[in-house]
Amino acid sequence: MTQNGRVILGMQGVTKIYGSGDAATRALDNINFDARAGEVVVIMGPSGAGKTTFLTIAGALLRPTSGTVTVSGLNITEMGEKNLPEVRRDRIGFIFQSFNLLDSLTSLENVTLVMTPDRSRGKAGVNRARELLDMLGLSHRVKSLPKNLSGGEKQRVAIGRALANNPDLILADEPTANLDSKRGREVMLLLRQIAYEMDKSVVIVSHDHRIREVASRIVWLEDGTFRSDVETARDPVCNRVIEVVGAPQTEHIGVLFYFCGEQCQRIFAENPTKFAEAG
């Protein structure tokens, strides 16, 4: 892995405030962040920490209240609204929790659709989409509609779409949350492969502890700021990564377990042996 790769996503002093006056929410508070080519950065944090806000700002879908965002060296905070769609299409690949494929298009069409006109022109675009789907192990699924694909297959098509225009930056929001552990693992390994072998910068927002396995770096976002001194644990019930401090906890046969909330704690209490062993 190339720790010294070029900076693909850069944020300096980014603040995002939703609303104003009494109702104002400071979702991101003066954050600085770099993601380089060839690395997988995983952003974790409790609900409401600002993760989605971070991702949509990085994805040129939302403007920060203040601060600077660069993507592949382009300062997107300075760009006019008119030019942002092009940045999203050409320089960023999005992967969503709920896949977000177009239902009436086949796998192949979902991938070719997003290609810039000069890429998709004629047979070249279709060939490229086929190659991508091949690489993702979907050569037998090119003509299938999303409704006939498994969750893992859908997410792989979505990855194909994210790669269609060969962007430097891949942004993924909870890419494994809707997948079982086997498919989730496949997708994670794919994302790592994309970062390492294709030299892309992959930024993943996730609660999933398994994703640590593929991370070059994990950062903890809480109350709109990154914290480096966070001790984390895995909730044995929902498998979320959580901060130890302030989390509900239960002792079971001499081991301390931490939970994302009281609900998981209650579920654990009903059958502690099952969850303790699974961990």
Binding site: R88, S98, E109
Partner: protein
Amino acid sequence: MLIVARKNLFSERTRLAISVGGIALAVFLIGVLLSLYRGWENKVGGFVEDSNVDVWIANEGAKDFLAAASLLPYDPSLGVDPCQQQIQAALQDPNRRSQAQKFPVQDIRECRPLIVRQMEGLKVEIQSGGEEKILKKMNLQFVGYDAGTQLGGPLRIVEGSTDAPKDNEVVVDEALGKRYGVQVGDTLKAGGRDWNVIAKSGGGDFVAAQTVFVSLDAAADALGFNDAKKTTFYVIRLKDGIDAKAFADGVDIPGVHALDRSAFASNTKDRILSNVLPILAVVLLLAFIVGLSVAGLTIYTATVEKSREYGILKAVGFRNSYLYRAVLEQSIVTGFLGFVIGIGLMLIIGPFAADVVPQFVIFTRWQDVLAVAGATLVMAGVAAYIPVRRLASIDPVAVFKA
């Protein structure tokens, strides 16, 4: 067509069928009504337009062929020719006297009286006991014309004798044959007399009434016009090269109108169609609204249903203009399909219906088809307008939610 537009449109067959059906129905209705209007206009105006009469002289207040109020002085003892003498005689009438009386007789080739009267006609059957049984009642436009000049007579004979009718002979419009089964050789009762049908003519169908032609004398006799020294109109054929409109404008006789052929024809059309026109306009508007609503609603719901997908497209870098185009294309293709089906139905059903219902006279002009196409395009455009506005408000950030 954009792939998104094509797939969205054709993946929902039922909805497509509903929106195309809605537009097709509207197109069909609008097309039929327009054609029906043109058909009536043609029929009603056709007789005057195609007749050999250049200028019509009528009583003040009577400006068209169907006006029952025209009654002009005419003295049969003076003979039919020269007609200007008759009109001069009319001028002697003290009630009509005036300082400025102009009648450019030098431009006239022929001028004759023409008797026209609306009346009921009966087709009867003689029972074995000698009693008459009424088989059919019909509305007639009863015309008495001068056989010598044929002015105001039948446009063309389609069946039977080509001689002008004499005594108790009558030439009936072929529409009477189609509608009431009146045939050559039948007897027709009208104006208290029995008339022998000797021929059928064409072009005298006014939809609400049909023309029958008898000789001037017979008509005057039957209606008592000879004793009253009256006629309905004077009809004039001008010398070659004389402009009918200029001639008519030059006539200045108090109490009398002179109208050239096209003015008289359009007045005749107006009498029938001016009553129909507002109704027609309302029905056309309703049909338009029905088509628009069905298409608008289906396209709107389709857009709302797919709003997440449009949000995805925005998120991955498509411009709003791409989305607008996708919706507009769906709308326009829907409109096009509806138009083709609607016009197709009209062309298939129209002639068929005309055979069954005699009043159903349709005449389809390409200008009207073009107008319907324009209306369809407007329908499609307006139907896409509200969905397109909704597209603009879709927030792509929403697609990050599970």
